[in-house]
Each structure stands twice: as C-alpha cells, then as structure tokens.
Amino acid sequence: MTEIHQELHERRILGTELLWAFGVGVLIAAILSMIVFTALSIGVNPPSNVERLDPKALHLSGEFAEDNLGTSVGSDGRVVVRVIATQFAFLPRCIPVPVGRPVTLRFVAPDVLHGLLISGTNVNTMVVPGYVAQVHTEFTRTGDLLMPCHEYCGLGHSEMWATVQVLPENQFQPDSNGRVSCAQR
C-alpha cells in the first residue's frame, strides 16, 4: 500500500468508529432521558429519606416501641405501617393494608442488616441498622402477599418472612386508636 492509500484507509476506519461512537452516544442519551423522565414524572424513586435512628435504643424510642408497631391510620386518614426487622422475624408477622390507598411503610433493624421485598409489587428496600427505611406505595389488588427478608442476616435468614394482607376497604377497619390488625382466617 502506498502512503496515501494507507492514510485514506486509516481515515475510513476512523470514520466507521466515529459513526458507531455516535450511535452509542444516542443510545446512552436515550437511556438517560428515560431515567430522568421516569424519576420526575411518575416519581419512580428509591427509598432515600436518610433518617437516622439509634438501633440500640429502638424499644425506647417512641415510634418503634412495641405498642406502635403494625398498621395505624392517623386522624388525617394517612396509613402508616411500622415494622421492626430483627433476627429472624418481622414484628409484626402479619401486616394489614388497604387496597387502592397510599401507604407509607417504615422499617428499622435493631441488630444486623436486613432487607425486604413484597412479592408482586415494586416494594423493595434494604433495612440498615442506624436508619429508617421508608417506602411509599399503593397496593392494587387484594389478597395475601409474601414479604421475605432478602438480605442475608444469619443462619435463620431463610425463615424470616411476613405476610402482607391487602384488604378491601370494608374489611380495613381501624379501632378507636386508629390501629388495624390482620383479619383472622
């Protein structure tokens, strides 16, 4: 190959590479705009409230004292669920929630790392000792859902799960203190 040919050929290679790089750029831009769009428009956001809480004093702190655990409905009608994840159980083990209403789930761990998902929904969070993990969601169908601990927390990890009872509005009845318990079946 003469010098000039070589030069031309090298330019052609460079040309194809730049074209491909441009395609890659377009792809990345598309992915990025999808992420930004979903984050802004429908509020698809991971749990990120960054709320510190001393894991050594959970039972002393008002919010996660034993009496406050489980589902409660505030005077403003807001549904809040408070759960402790501990080796190797969720407290409480059964969680009633209403169908079709916004629900706030709040989790803490007094001992080690845990995590959870609720099957068939996009509820998924880590529970890190030292922080409150908070998730907002709305359940769309009634029925029982599985809520396993999904982060290795010790030899009993496989045994750690809870049940989420998604109840129709007429069965979701708070008592005089605004507290709701699982339906007995």
């Binding site: 990120s48 790392l113 995590g115």
Partner: protein
C-alpha cells in the same frame, strides 16, 4: 518464554482446583434449593458452602488466574524477562497462605458471612486476615506489572507498549484503586470488630466503603476476557485487529469509569439521599460504553478474518470464520451470553426497575451469566491457547475442547434463564431451603429443577476442562511455536503519550472519585450514623 512457565502454572492450577471444587458445591446448592433436595442439609451447612463457593470463585479463581495471566503477558508481549521474579514467587506463596488461612474458618462454619461480609455480622478474624493477605499479594503483582512496563519503555523509547501489556497494566492500576475501599473497611472496621477490639460499627459507612470496591472488582475479573478479545481473537480467526487505538481507549475507559460508579449498588439503601443516587445512576449510564466499543471493534476484526477466508455479502463472512478453533468459538458463545446479560444489566441499571429485581434471584442469575458465562468461558479459551506454550505439548484433539466450551454455554443458559425468571417472580437470594408447601413457592419448583440440570451440565463441563488441561502435562504431541498476539490493520508506530501511560488517567480517577465518593463518605465523618452492635457468628 523466559522461564515463568512454572510460575504461571502454579497460579493457574490453584485457580482451577478451587474453580472445580466450587462448581461441585454450586450444584449441591442448586439441588438443596430445588424441591428434590428440599429437606437436605442444614442452614448452617448451606451458608458455610455458599460462603466457600462465593469466595472460591470471586476471589481465588479470579485473583490467581489474573496474576498468572499477567506474568505470562509481561514476558510474552514484552518479550523480556520478568523483573522481580523472586517477588512474584513470594507473592504467590503469600496468596496461598492467605487462602488457607481464610478457608480454615470457612470450612469450620466460623465465617458463614458470605463473600460480601455484611457487618455488623462478623465471622472469625482469620477469615478476613486471610483475604487481606491475598489482596496484599495481588498488590505486589500489580506493582510488578507496572515495573515490567516501565522497564520495557526505558529500553524502547517512543514505542507504543504492546496492547496486551498496556491492558494488563491498566487492570493492575485499576485494581490498586479498587481495593482501597475494601481494605479500609476490613482494616479499620471489620477486623477490629472480629477481634473484639471494638463493639459497634457504623454500618452505613461500611457499606459505602464496600461499594467502592464492588463495581470495579467485576471489571478486574472481566479484563482478561477483553485482553483476549483484542489481542488474541483476531489472530486466532485468521485476521487482524481493526483498531489498536480503540483497544487502548477501551482499557483506559475501564480504568477511569469503573471506579466512580460503585455507589449504584446502594440504590436501595436508606443511608444515601436522592441526589447522590441520581448522580450515580447518571454516571452508571456510561459504563456500557467500553463494552459497546469492544463489540464493534471485535466484530469488525472478525469480519476482516471472515472476508479474508472468502466470506461475502453482509453476513456471509460469519459462516466462513474458523468456528472449529476454540478461541473463535468461545468468543462467539461469550458474545451471545453478553447479549443476554447486557439486556439484563440495563434492567438492573434503571432507577425504578432496580426495585423490581434488587436482591432477587435475578441478580444471582445475571452475574452467573455475565461473569460465570461470558468471562469464564474466555478464561477457558485463554488457557487452551497458552497451555501448549506453558507445557510444550499440543492438544491431541480439539473436539473435546469444543465439547467443553459448548457444554459450558448450554449449561449456563439452562441454569440462568429460569433463574432470571424466578427472580422476576420474586424469588429472593440466599435461601437455604425453600418452603415448597407455600402455594406461591410451589410454582417455582419445576424451574429450579431446570436450573439444577443446567448446574449438572456445568459441573461436567468444569471437570472436562481440567481433563483437557491435564493431558497437556504428559501428552506426546509436541507444540509447534506460533505467534499468539494479533497485529492491527495499521500497527501503530507512535501513539500519543496519553495512550501509552497512565499518569493523566490517575489524576482523572482521583478527581472523579472525589466527586463521586467525597460527600457520601464525608457525611459519615461529619455526622456519624448511630452505630450498630457487632454480631459474631459464634
């Protein structure tokens, strides 16, 4: 080959002994998770063996293979003696001691904390100390790689460092950066806790430090496969490397880009705020760039080979490629797995979609496909290529090599496709025995059995791999010398200094790490999170 043969073989055989044993353990795990073995084994045994499987494959196989391969490249690509060979042997024995020290407590059930540690759970201090020794050994290796390149450059002023060595040093430099996070975590948090010197631990900080390592370590494992793609595959296919510059750029991008994105492993964690996570997701969108560039360059290189062999038309060149050669076959299979895996990776990356799959079987299946599949199959191909050069004997037949590669591919697909599916169904990770009495879980049973079949195929393939290598230690057919490394279409005469050294790129890494990790780490020092009590596993 300047007498590093024994050094390389010593590394490789440790790697593959652990690899084969771990595949047997993996198959056992899959059996126990399936309805067929639902009453087999205790959780204590399961987590002990998952820890062994994870440590053996993620730390022992990879580190030993990469070190051995590095010594091979440093002597063959640079065509000179390895400087500091005594140090290399020292590092080898240090690594061996480290592995023994780490595995003793694992197999005693005193370190069933899995390969990801997860404080405040802590195992025996020896487990962590052994792993630190392994890392220190790999640091010695990394320095030796840099010394070898520097010495070569002094003897060859102005000439471009051969691509295989340039990539190896890129990996070594990246590894030094990568291990800082986990080293700080182990030395300042976990080991003091395991020794009983401290009784509480800042879990948020600990997870943040671990995430520093968690993404880039995967690229450390992966780079040997990319070295094969760029520097061996084009020649094995009978062609040339399309572009040497693209290769350099790719390895530089790996160095620069794998490090500042580790925090995306904490998307579902409560200790980091939305702003941090958002920056991470944006940075992470770019990590696929080097892989996409590689796919183009390697496909173009293969096309050159296919056309030289008479292929015509837009796709005709694919058929004329020499698919009977292990390196070419492995590359094709690796690309197919990379294709499936890349699609899965996009899902993991999505801010919202991640919530669907985080910590489900989807993740486990994904990294088996990408790492155990696409990457490890290239480890096999590299071994098949260089073993004759190490032992001086030729493969008696290639058909068993092809059978091994095909069975690894088939086994991996059969195992991981249903495993992904179960992850989408909500099957979660790290379960000793599933409760198949539960109606939701019962439906998963048949799919786990399919995965188990895949696992058995993989185990058979792993054993065949050992056999294929072992016969080269006593076979009769002597190897003929032939070139290994590919030549570029336009072999570079001179390259700009930035494409021939790492100084500038290290500065860039430093800046990016300050941007990505500065505040996320500083927040724990400014306002420490309430610490958690250390929990010892026995």
């Amino acid at each position: 080959m300047h007498s590093v043969k024994r050094l390389c073989l010593a590394h490789f055989w440790v790697a593959f002994a652990f690899f084969a044993a771990a595949c047997a353990i993996g198959t056992w795990q899959m059996w126990v998770r399936s309805p067929l073995g639902a009453s087999v084994g205790t959780p204590g045994q399961y987590y002990m063996l998952v820890t062994a499987h994870g440590v053996a494959l993620a730390f022992v196989l990879t580190t030993f293979f990469i070190m051995g391969f590095g010594y091979f490249v440093a002597t063959t690509a640079l065509d000179r003696q390895l400087p500091g060979k005594a140090w290399a042997w020292g590092a080898y024995w240090l690594a061996v001691v480290g592995v023994v020290v780490a595995f003793a407590p694992i197999m005693n059930g005193q370190a069933s904390v899995l390969y990801t540690f997860y404080p405040p759970l802590t195992g025996s201090a020896w487990f962590y100390i052994g792993l630190v020794l392994l890392v220190v050994a790999s640091w010695i290796w990394a320095v030796l790689m840099m010394v070898a390149m520097t010495a070569w450059k002094r003897e060859n002023p102005g000439r471009p460092v051969p691509l295989a060595m340039f990539a190896t040093v890129a990996n070594a430099v990246m590894w030094l950066w990568t291990t800082v996070g986990v080293a700080v975590q182990l030395l300042f948090q976990v080991i003091p806790a395991a020794l009983g010197l401290v009784h509480t631990i800042d879990v948020g900080l600990s997870r943040t430090l671990f995430s520093w390592t968690l993404h880039a370590i995967v690229y450390f494992w992966l780079i040997p496969a990319y070295i094969a793609f760029y520097t061996m595959v084009p020649r094995a296919a009978g062609g040339r490397l399309y572009s040497d510059t693209m290769g350099r750029l790719t390895f530089i991008l790996f160095l620069v880009y794998s490090l500042p994105v580790g925090l995306h492993h904490l998307l579902m964690d409560p200790e980091h705020g939305n702003a941090t996570k958002f920056i991470q997701v944006v940075l992470t969108a770019f990590v696929s760039v080097p892989t996409l560039l590689t796919i183009f360059t390697i496909t173009a290189s293969l096309e050159i080979a296919g056309r030289l062999r008479g292929g015509r038309g837009p796709f005709g060149w694919i058929a004329t490629l020499p698919w009977d050669r292990p390196m070419v076959l492995a590359t094709g299979l690796s690309f197919v797995m990379l294709g499936f895996g890349g699609f899965g990776g996009l899902i993991n990356m999505g801010y919202g979609m991640n919530a669907m799959v985080h910590n489900t079987s989807w993740v486990t299946a994904h990294f088996h496909l990408i790492f155990g599949g696409s990457v490890v199959i290239m480890y096999f191909a590299i071994c098949y290529e260089i073993w004759p050069r190490l032992t001086g004997r030729e493969h008696p037949t290639l058909s068993l090599l092809r059978l091994q590669l095909w069975s690894w591919f088939v086994g991996m697909m059969v195992m991981t496709l249903p495993w992904h599916w179960l992850g989408l169904q909500g099957q979660w990770r790290r379960v000793a025995n599933f409760n198949y009495a539960d109606p939701i879980i019962a439906g998963w049973g048949p799919w786990v059995i399919v995965s188990l079949i895949g696992g058995i195929i993989l185990l058979a393939s792993a054993l065949l791999f050992l056999r294929n290598l072992a016969v080269l230690h006593r076979g009769a057919v002597l190897a003929v010398a032939r070139p290994l490394y590919a030549i570029a279409v336009h072999p570079p005469q001179r390259v700009p200094a930035v494409l021939n050294s790492f100084g500038l790129w290290n500065v860039l890494v430093l800046v990016l790490m300050l941007v990505a990790y500065g505040l996320p780490i500083a927040q724990f020092l400014i306002e420490p999170s309430p610490s958690a009590i250390v929990h010892r596993m026995r």
